[in-house]
């Protein structure tokens, strides 16, 4: 039977032969889905290890760039934490992650692929990065936007202060040089000041590997679905479902409430508006944050988790874990306590409102959607504060450099 008959399943056809047998096999005396749950635990653990490795890469790049700028004093004054350990611990101990894993949702696999692509890009492993990107796009559509930070990571390398600072440092040092030998001294100083150039080689490999992996995945999907309508059926039921928002059951996002009351005539217009809501933020963020592609990836993931058509707490678990990777830069974030309380409050109130509405019948949709809106505003505040704190950090580095 086609996996898409009946509107229960809208995921990738490749997950079914992997996870299906695991839910069926019983070990004597233990619950039937033990193997399946074990898989998700392992997946979460691997994700945490990858986050730790990414954190270590970020930290080493950060140290190096600060040393090049002769700003190592910054490291010593601020309380310097090991971001890799911190981020992986935040990810593993986040109640959202634990709930997602215990609920046997397939979000841990999505998260693993996204983190895999970020780790591969940070380490310069094009095939790993492209594999993670292709598979995460295949599983849910939205990680496609991560192609921008991944390419920037492969081209420039992990996060560093803005290149303007390197120029400033060079100009400070060579303040007294004679203007005649400008050309050769410029070249020499360019090499000395280690200004990052965009190297195209890893990016080309990335594109090549993406083509290989995507054709492989499409071929496998085609084989598994050849009797049930082929690839067009798969695209219609998976990506088409995400884009068309056909199922309006309540979730923690903002789509369902609106699309329950929109008129048919305007439905496609508003679908476009809601999806462009994500897309129009991409370009300005790239322009402003292109020197910090890992942080850019974090912001993209946060925006995606907030504005996707069917969000879940598993997506939030991912970006909250990645938040820990930038603990040093975000040390002066405002409203952190407010956000923490907000998250705790929302995670407590939202199931209560859902219960009141659906099971007891004493509330209505507005109760539940109010928590949804509050959640979206919390996430907005979080994203805006993170971005502004990073920019403040860069400004602080620049001030330190010029004084």
């Amino acid at each position: 039977m086609s996996p898409y008959s009946g509107s229960m399943y809208h995921g990738s056809p490749l997950l079914l032969p992997v996870l299906g047998p695991l839910t069926v096999n019983r070990v004597k005396g233990l619950p039937a889905h033990l193997f399946c749950s074990l898989i998700f635990v392992i997946v979460d653990f691997v994700t945490a290890m990858l986050i730790r490795a990414t954190g270590q890469k970020l930290m080493s790049t950060y140290h190096r760039s600060l040393q090049l700028l002769n700003l190592s004093c910054v490291q010593e004054t601020a309380g310097h934490t090991h971001v890799g350990d911190l981020a992986s611990l935040i990810f593993l101990w986040n109640p959202f992650t634990i709930i997602t894993c215990a609920g046997s949702s397939t979000s841990p696999i999505d998260n693993l692929m996204i983190v895999l692509s970020i780790y591969g890009a940070c380490s310069g492993l094009s095939s790993l990065a492209s594999f993670g990107w292709v598979v995460s796009t295949h599983l849910s559509l939205y990680p496609a936007i991560l192609v921008i930070p991944v390419i920037l990571l492969l081209g420039y390398g992990p996060d560093a202060p803005p290149s303007k600072l390197f120029f400033l440092k060079k100009s400070n040092e060579s303040g007294g040089s004679c203007p005649k030998d400008k050309t050769c001294s410029e070249q020499k100083s360019k090499e000395e000041s280690h200004i990052r150039n965009f190297c195209w080689r890893p990016v080309l490999f990335f594109i090549l590997w993406s083509l290989i992996w995507s054709s492989y995945i499409l071929f496998l999907s085609f084989i598994s679905l050849k009797e049930f309508g082929g690839l067009s059926e798969m695209v219609k039921k998976t990506h088409g479902f995400i884009l068309n928002v056909e199922d309006l059951s309540p979730n923690i996002g903002v789509f369902w409430y609106f699309f329950a009351e929109v008129f048919e005539f305007f439905r496609s217009f508003f679908l476009i508006v809601f999806h462009i809501n994500i897309l129009f933020m991409l370009v300005p963020l790239v322009i402003r944050l292109r020197h910090r592609p890992c942080f850019l990836a974090f912001v993209y993931i946060a925006i995606m988790s907030m504005l996707k058509s069917y969000p879940s707490v598993g997506d939030s678990a991912l970006y909250l874990g990645l938040l820990g990777l930038f603990a040093n830069e975000l040390a002066e974030m405002r409203f952190s306590f407010f956000l923490l309380c907000g998250y705790v409050g929302i995670s407590l109130l939202s199931p209560v409102m859902h219960n009141l509405w659906i099971w007891r019948g004493t509330g209505n949709a507005n109760f539940y959607f109010a928590t949804g809106i509050a959640y979206a505003s919390l996430q907005t505040v979080l994203i805006v504060e993170c971005v502004s704190t990073i920019l403040k950090h860069d400004r602080m580095l620049r001030n330190k450099l010029t004084t």
Binding site: L14, P17, L125, S127, L128, F205, Y216, L220, S224
Partner: protein, 382 residues
């Protein structure tokens, strides 16, 4: 000139063997009719409600029960137990409980409505809950109780249903393929005369008394003041209270359980029109709703045969087989269009080679080799 051909055709039709019923039994319906009103006919409503409860307990849902009652007992001014209907003086069972769905109530219980329900010829405004939406795979139980006589049944004190009306309705039902098998159970005086005119195959009928005999009530409830149940229905219920949904007691055991001394009448049944031996038919075929399920992987093609049976198709089912053949035609057309392109031809070859299980195995191997390729490429580029 034409007449000899017509005669020949009629002769052929007459001598042709009756077509095998090549349909599968896949649903059960119940039409429960109480044809009396007024307080002193309490027992008829109690009969019908008891059977309603039994039939629901054994699995037939409300959507497939048509309940016709005058429904003036439970809230009658004379009822000292308001909103409660009992069928026994020990008052242990309230038949008018939480979820009794009466489809035709009060003055809607007429001969015309009963015949319309059976034949399915309603006006367009009649809602679905009042229609007998059976098909050629249905087993229908028709239970009628009230006051009757020689070849008639009295409906609500002002009209009567005659035995040939009933036989006509059943014949129409058979022509329109509205049942696979029909069980008519009648609890009135001289009940067996009511189904004396039946001729349609696949019909089984049982009545509480023969011609010339009365059917008696079982006992009087001194608290309520009237008789609360009839003997035939009382002993029928006694038989069914021992059963649950999964019992396979047969119809012959039900029919043999009636003792003419206890009933004070002779329960007679008519099985000449019914083809199967009664000892092989479980009572849940009519009174309950347990069915065999076949799991198939292909699309549902309507009233097709059981997969294991190899009965040759008769022409009446050919019209339903066209669905399958249309699919085959469109598939053939698609294949012809695709063969031109070599890529599609190669894909078709691949498709033909792989069947379902191979495809799954191939997908698993593909995923495994993908992971392997990933690991190798990562190690190489490090």
């Amino acid at each position: 000139m034409v007449r000899p051909w017509i005669l020949l055709l009629l002769l052929l039709l007459a001598i042709s063997p009756p077509s095998h019923s090549s349909t599968v039994h896949n649903n059960n319906w119940a039409v429960l009719v109480c044809t009396s009103r007024f307080w002193f006919n309490y027992r008829h409503m109690a009969n019908t409600l008891s059977l309603y409860r039994t039939v629901k307990r054994l699995g037939i849902p409300d959507e497939r029960i048509i309940l016709m009652l005058a429904d003036d007992m439970a809230c009658n001014a004379r009822n000292s137990y308001p909103a409660q209907v009992f069928n026994n003086e020990n008052h242990m069972l309230n038949l008018y409980g939480d979820n009794v769905e009466v489809d035709y109530r009060g003055y809607e219980v007429t001969v015309e409505n009963f015949l319309r329900v059976l034949t399915g010829r309603h006006e367009t405004a009649v809602p679905r809950s009042k229609r007998l939406l059976s098909d050629e795979g249905s087993h229908i139980l028709v239970y009628m109780t009230g006051h009757g006589g020689d070849e008639f049944l009295k409906f609500q004190d002002n009209e009567e249903l005659q035995s040939h009306d009933l036989a006509d309705a059943v014949k129409q039902m058979k022509e329109k393929h509205r049942f696979k098998e029909l069980l008519i159970m009648v609890d009135t005086c001289q009940a067996a005369t009511l189904f004396s005119q039946l001729q349609s195959p696949g019909v089984l009928a049982i009545g509480s008394s023969k011609k010339g005999e009365n059917s008696y009530s079982h006992h009087l409830d001194s608290d309520i003041g009237v008789s609360v149940v009839d003997r035939f229905t009382y002993y029928t219920l006694a038989f069914f209270e021992k059963l649950n949904m999964y019992s396979n007691a047969s119809l012959s055991s039900l029919f043999n359980s009636y003792d003419s001394h206890l009933l004070m009448s002779t329960a007679s049944y008519r099985e000449d029109l019914y083809r199967r031996p009664l000892s092989e038919v479980p009572v849940t075929n009519f009174f309950g709703s347990v069915m065999k399920t076949f799991h198939t992987d292909f699309a549902y093609t309507g009233f097709s045969m059981e997969p294991e049976a190899h009965i040759s198709l008769v022409s009446e089912t050919d019209s339903r087989r066209t669905l399958g053949s249309e699919n085959a035609q469109t598939e053939a057309a698609n294949h012809n269009a695709k063969d031109n392109c070599p890529f599609h031809a190669w894909l078709k070859v691949l498709e033909d080679k792989l069947d379902n299980e191979n495809a799954e195995k191939l997908v698993l191997y593909g995923l495994g080799s993908m992971v392997l390729l990933l690991a190798i490429s990562t190690l190489l580029s490090v």
